[in-house]
Symmetry: D2
Subunit: 345 residues, 4 copies
């Protein structure tokens, strides 16, 4: 992008009534180079932002998502819609030269037939897949800087891949016996009402779901494919707090390794990242709450390697990572709008 970094760009958000949308409004509201100019929603169109999000004193009203008219007064559009609801619209924005950052899953999988198998929907814009870049900035940064279409990683893949990739790339772990145990706060299930997320049903206990069958696995394995490949056994869990994913990653070493050498691999992988930090003791998800930060911890014992990563699922797992990608594309500082300290406790 050739925009000057001092410039203010105008942004639109489609699907602004969910938690991902709310976080985009909150975070972009503090970004020095972005003005949130347009907001649209589907079922909640016509609602005032302050009614949808009582914590945001925003004067706006949600427009209705329209297939007919696209916004021509924005440089970037964020999509925060479920799978398959925006193929036509995204194409129109791409065609008119607008940057599109999709927080949904539509452009994550390069293979449209795999997409159809996983999401049960025929892919409506396969011709866009080649130009979509998977928005994991620490691993795809250079490609991100040159794209017009970003597919933001899912929340669980973000936490898992940031812990796995350094070791895959280093050929240090057995590729087919990786286990990822994911523990997500309940916002990870979205703002839609379900019995599973009704407070009394989950507040004082925990529960796994989609055991060995979560849609995020093909996404993880595709990203691992760029670093030699691998398979993951993944079980996600709902844990009774609002925000945060702790990923407990179990790997088996292919050769002896000291704790120091393992730590060095993490440090080396993220030495240029302002967001990722290795910590000497197991991280609490609260230590990254509200931020785009990632804490990584590792522990070797004999041939076993456990890596823990802690992220905020709504920020690093969605809206914050999307903004980080935007910062790359427009040449802003990588931490612009994302420099807040975490809300601990």
């Amino acid at each position: 992008m050739t925009l000057q970094s001092g410039k203010i760009i105008r942004a639109g958000i489609v699907g602004a009534s969910g938690y991902g949308g709310g976080e985009l409004i909150r975070l972009l509201g503090g970004h020095p180079h972005v003005q949130v100019a347009r907001l649209a929603g589907e079922s909640k169109s016509g609602s005032r932002i302050v009614d949808l999000f009582p914590h945001l004193n925003s004067p706006g009203v949600l427009e209705k998502v329209s297939d007919k008219e696209v916004w021509t007064d924005v440089e970037i559009v964020f999509f925060a819609l479920p799978a398959g609801q925006s193929f036509h619209l995204v194409r129109r924005y791409i065609d008119q030269g607008t940057v599109v950052i999709d927080l949904g899953p539509d452009y994550r999988l390069g293979d449209p037939s795999l997409y159809q198998k996983i999401y049960g929907i025929e892919h409506g814009a396969p011709e866009l897949l080649p130009q979509a870049v998977y928005g994991l900035p620490e691993w795809n940064g250079p490609r991100l800087e040159k794209t017009q279409l970003v597919a933001c990683p899912g929340c669980f893949p973000t936490g898992a891949l940031l812990g796995i990739l350094p070791f895959l790339r280093a050929h240090l772990v057995h590729r087919t016996s990786i286990v990822v145990d994911g523990k997500s706060g309940i916002t990870g299930a979205g703002r839609g009402l379900t019995l599973e997320t009704h407070f009394p049903e989950i507040a004082e206990g925990t529960q796994a779901y989609k055991v060995l069958d979560h849609r995020h696995v093909p996404e993880m394995e595709q990203a691992m494919g760029e670093h030699g490949g691998g398979r993951v056994a993944f079980v996600p869990h709902l844990v009774p707090y609002n925000r945060g994913i702790l990923s407990t990653i179990y790997m088996t070493l292919t050769a002896q390794a000291t704790q120091e050498s393992i730590d060095r691999i993490v440090d080396e992988a993220y030495k240029d990242s302002p967001f990722i930090r290795r910590v000497p003791s197991p991280p609490n998800t609260m230590s990254v709450r509200g931020t785009n930060n990632v804490l990584v911890y590792s522990r070797v014992r004999e041939d076993r390697l456990v890596v823990l990563t802690a992220i905020d699922n709504l920020v690093r797992g969605a809206s914050g990572q999307a903004i980080q990608a935007m910062n790359r594309i427009f040449g802003f500082g990588e931490t612009e709008g994302l420099g807040y300290g975490a809300l601990f406790p």
Copy 2:
């Protein structure tokens, strides 16, 4: 103060290892005109900040609080110590011209004999009391701007007074039958270990404490004295979340009043405040989480008036309000360093 607003001032924090201190570090870390230059603690001196607060990637180490040497390289010192531990030190900073903002209770009560009765400690610096200003910026703003010594209000008085004072001043409510039911998140009890705040003892229930006997009552009644006086029946409760105080204030009207006229009194009282907003439905404390914001709701029915205020006890109830006072004193914009959106959910 005659400092230029573009200037960077240097700040010190005494008592930096508790939750109030941690929030000061977090918030001042994002303040455009402040550099946190010195940090001291008592029992935790020698500890690294990052070990005390894993969410803050701060390189510093806590100095030991010293009675002998005072910092001469700071323009302002925040004290976050328990009652009675800093009389001598505060005096020395005042003497050398440093601004002192005390988050503790030592300078809140104007009458040293009342202080002794309530806190069981002889007041060690009664000569400073006349110059101390009670740091409720929306009510004491002009005096704040000219003082060198700020006594930050307690967390419960902040929430209660912001709801009561507009109606006391308007002579609209009976002064002796005010009831304040306070519901505080557990950070309000501090970082010290107690059985009451051991997770399993409070996580799945609620509990009152110091029924009709909390130290914050004399503080509330003193502040009410400036607006015609009044008495409060107050019961604080621990509620199982981390941050936030909801104050449910029950008052009796002295004359008929419509909902509109009541709302107008709130709007008028806070029309110049960038932080305080009236809301049309009962606020959730999460809507102000992590911020200096205050939400106010009122409801009239016959001769009964209920006012609800929601604050973050660590920010508006302590560190944020302290920074708001600092902004006033140094002529910074009132919201500098405090403009973040709330963490909801």
Copy 3:
């Protein structure tokens, strides 16, 4: 009732798919004199109990609630339906001589026009109101023993009245300035899905609702009418735990009273109750979790009296108190099926 106390009676539950129904199944399942013989639901009819309540290994399937056929093989039917849904059905059970215990509000208010005003529904069985007994066993025990129709008190009235009535009866408090601040766990809002009870919206904060406008107030004031009358300012709150109501009751004394004399009034009022106990420090709702027990605490200061009561809203505030009423009616021991210790922590 002239049933022999060794006998097993057969019970039916109408509206068995909510939390109140689930607790009836759990508690009656451990009752030595009751067999749960019939279960019916509305929207969930056809569901297996074990699917509705995974903690209950019950083989049954919910029948459909029918207006046409009433069960003739049960001695007692518990109704746990919303307002206005069972007038016809209750009448048929009363007509055929079955004992009816209604956990809903239909028979709580003696005045059908007040019912219509509060619930917005014309009362469909006003001729039954004279025989309905308000099921607060410690206060209406003798009448309970002789009735065929019990109107179980609402959860908030249960907690409030048990704290207020001893002092009203003793003419010790001003009747028109009583304040009740209610704090309920989220099960109090039922099992129906709402945004307010979606985990992320309430888990890390608290919120008031129906300020000065809750349907339980007329019920409280009616019960107070039997002891000289009184008015209540009531604000309910949702607090993020599953079970329990803490009622903080603020009253003003009409004459001086010592703490000892106040305590004696509580002790005297409940000296015969196996469930109600006065405690010397403010109770935590967890201390009664899962039980029919009530803890009462009081504190006098000058002319102020604060009484705290802690109950489990699903047990003492609904299903347990219903079973206590049944025990009285059938001449079982008052604690039969209700003798469990509380789940603390």
Copy 4:
């Protein structure tokens, strides 16, 4: 044992002030064949039970644990003390013929040198180890019935072994690549005060601890040794609720297996257990809260097998399983005193 099952036995509890002790008092209080006759504590001796456990209206006072005098008026003593504090005392009870059920770790490991390595304490009663039976009733039932000394399994081993052993015994899984991810409620960390279990530090996030280094691993592997052996990679986590352990167990099949065949193995293993039930969807820990029940779920996909077990860590993971062992020893019905339904929600 040759006691008659109608008889009442007298029981003592040593270490009655912690959560395990409290649950023993609660559960034994409802046991038809047991009278809790003696209670002792260490630091809390002299305290009243009702002060230690406000939910228990027990009149007793804790005696001081004494090495000099042992109780001669009890048939059974439960020990709930930390490692290494009761060697001498247990020996005396064994010598006088009293049944001893130890909830601590002293008699779990058969090898005293391994005990010393893991717990850092020289084993003080190695001569008792051969007679100690590991109290996992579904697997060691016959041996339990004949012993005088029971070593109750740790909470994590209970949840893990009940899920692993059926498949180890069936030679269906690779023995060296088993992963156990444990998620425990905070009561699992005990009643002692620590910063990690201070409410604000854990309430709104999650955290691993003792990664690959927990003392429960040797215990698991020893028990697995009786079924062909195996190795476990284990990471425990603290999750913000009070009670419950969810164990997510990842195994790799040695041969193809259908879901049906896997389910059959679980059903077969526990067909005689009144407490263990296979469920068709992932269990929530709340579904066993307050009970000795175990829910087991399994899921096969290609060569991967995931087994989930849900237990209440204080009941099935400690006090309840201890009572189940007692019931076996004294010939009581296996569910006596343990037949309550779970507290859901």
